[in-house]
Symmetry: C2
Subunit: 359 residues, 2 copies
DNA sequence: CTGTTAGCGCCTTCAT
DNA sequence: ATGAAGGCGCTAACAG
């Protein structure tokens, strides 16, 4: 009644236990005939190797951890898709994914993880440009990959959004619609100060692309709530009354921006075009109008993160293997929040909006 | 340099390895003095038991799986909070949580899981009233708990939203504001047909509460997208022009409902009050106006789900332990989408009686 | 190409 | 209250 063990398979196939092991791992050439007998025995018995024993004996488990800091921004759909993508890819490669929600004290967490012997490696999410976990993991000798990218990704397996391309695509979209002045509403200042990769990279990319497409550009960080979004929009408009295009990478702020636009009697996309950067469809479809979005390929990135790690884990130490960075740009999904700017770029004064009926 | 093992601790504390084991597990009384020596040695060496060896020897791992079917509705914030809550509670109880995204073929998945010996038990999410996984897990002898509840939760550890209370609270909120006729927009018909617990239970609760508070009540399922929401709202209004209160348990449909309301020149909460049921703050704050919500205590439920399972796992088989159902109602968070109905309830005009009123 | 033999690090029944 | 010893189920040298 108990689960069959390897020795049961061995007996049934008339071979030694180790032969079964080798047949399974492929670490040794097995003659086709014995291999077939073994596989048959396995099937007949419904044998499944015990992962604990396997890990213990080989000194390497088939479990990887997903290190998920609960950031102040909280976990969003995109993070969730990273996670499910990673779990899925891991499973396909014969591994399990344990969810490790790192509230703080990352150092201790990471140490504890590998000491238990349960975890063979880790996938990091919410990566900072100078992520404190990198030296920690290196010192602990724990293999890891990242979904995200530090400042210097050298020697690290990374799967990340291609922000260069994404930023450029966002600006290009607006520029081609005819917008001559655009603004970028970023994550909060505190995110910036802790050097959150996406915030920094997206801003740089937009700035560069604005230059390339010769559109005036301004940017600012913004608190992660709708009130901050409203305020930011108002300030932006004071600074640049001729603003018509807005890129936002801050879902909560987006709510406020849309409110503010409505409040001054303007509308989207008639008066302002709004493009959401790196938000998932699930979120941007909730807005009215539905937002034109640069939508991250989150599942794919999650998969890549897991694959890179597991690949590294499976590479024998004597083999040379160069860690790689996989960059995937966001996909531009044009919805209802972007269109041509209101007036052709004539330097005429802006018409002061009168009282507006908002129904 | 390698991790210290139990025998290292034993030597340092001048005891036998087994004594260390017992000191750690508490399965035996250890004299205070030796215990202290052992603990000191453990601390000094930075010893951490190897989970693989521990699991192998004791025939019980400290890993539980979270079975997360990727439903057509997709994973939302609430599901994510279930997951993080469960992971957190598991960790606090010395366990790890592996994420098992069950795409289909649940049977095989579940079997594969426990055979590996890695998983000591499972936590089920997205529970159906007649969940196919229950007999599967029972037959396989895998302990499990649920976040959600089947039709007959007898003998099963469940942590679920208290829909009775939640539905009542929603109706009460609207009734006390003065609404006399309310509608409930549920999940999609296909969800209903597969007997998704929340859909069924919430509907029943609202119906009952409507009677209790003497408000006319109608309900219908609704596709999981904004177009369906719009259509549903229009139909609802045709059927019941005097409708003023709407409860919705379908975020995507909510988008459409709000659009539809706006489109007919009405506004929220002036003309219609909208209450979102079992949606997370993260979602309902994205709407304009921000939605009055019955917000699930998702993290707590996730924690409970994990605790119940682990508790069961830790109960020796000879002990009697009654599986329990923990029900937590959603919290009413009043925001900007609900208020008194437009016209005071004057019994002047006799609106063409529709056939919908409930009792 | 296959078999034999030690462990991997811990738990747990026996003994004492 | 503590030791000693035999596995848990598998892998990975060694042999042949």
């Amino acid at each position: 009644m108990a689960n069959p063990r390897m020795i049961d398979v061995a007996r049934r196939a008339n071979v030694a236990p180790s032969t079964v092991s080798y047949a399974l791992s492929g670490q040794r050439t097995i003659s086709p005939s014995t291999r077939k007998r073994i596989l048959r025995a396995i099937a007949e018995l419904g044998y499944k190797p015990n992962e604990l024993a396997r890990g213990l004996a080989s000194r390497r488990s088939r479990v990887v951890a997903l290190l998920l800091p609960e950031s102040q921004r909280g976990i969003g759909f995109t993070e969730m898709e990273f996670a499910t993508g990673a779990a899925q890819a891991a499973k396909e490669l014969g591994h399990q994914l344990v969810l490790s929600v790192t509230n703080s004290n990352t150092a201790g967490q990471v140490e504890a993880l590998n000491k238990g012997g349960l975890i063979a490696g880790a996938i990091l999410m919410e990566v900072r440009l100078d992520d404190e976990r990198i030296p920690l993991l290196r010192n602990a000798g724990i293999p890891f990959s990242m979904i995200g990218r530090p400042r210097d990704p050298d020697g690290i397996d990374c799967a990340d959004i291609d922000f260069d391309q994404t930023g450029r695509d966002a600006v290009e979209h607006l520029a081609k619609l005819g917008h001559r002045k655009i603004a970028f509403l970023n994550h909060s200042a505190s995110e910036m100060s802790t050097a959150y990769g996406p915030s920094v990279r997206a801003a740089a990319a937009l700035r560069r692309a604005a230059e390339e497409f010769s559109v005036a550009y301004l940017e600012r960080p913004c608190g992660e709530d709708s009130e901050s979004g409203e305020a930011a929009f108002r300030e932006l408009l004071e600074t640049a009354p001729d603003l018509t295009g807005i890129a936002i990478m801050n879902d909560r702020a987006t709510v406020g921006v849309l409110s503010a636009i409505e409040r001054i009697g303007a509308s989207v996309p008639r008066d302002f075009s709004v493009v959401s950067i790196a938000s998932s469809t699930r979120v941007t479809e909730m807005f009215r109008p539905k937002l034109t979005t640069l939508e991250p390929q989150a599942i794919e990135l999650g998969q890549m993160g897991a694959r890179l790690l597991i690949e590294a884990l499976q590479t024998p130490p004597d083999l040379e293997r160069e860690p790689a960075s996989v960059l995937l740009p966001c996909r531009l999904v044009v919805r209802d929040s972007s269109g041509p700017p209101p007036a052709p770029p004539t330097p005429a004064p802006a018409p002061a909006p009168t009282s507006i009926s908002n129904v």
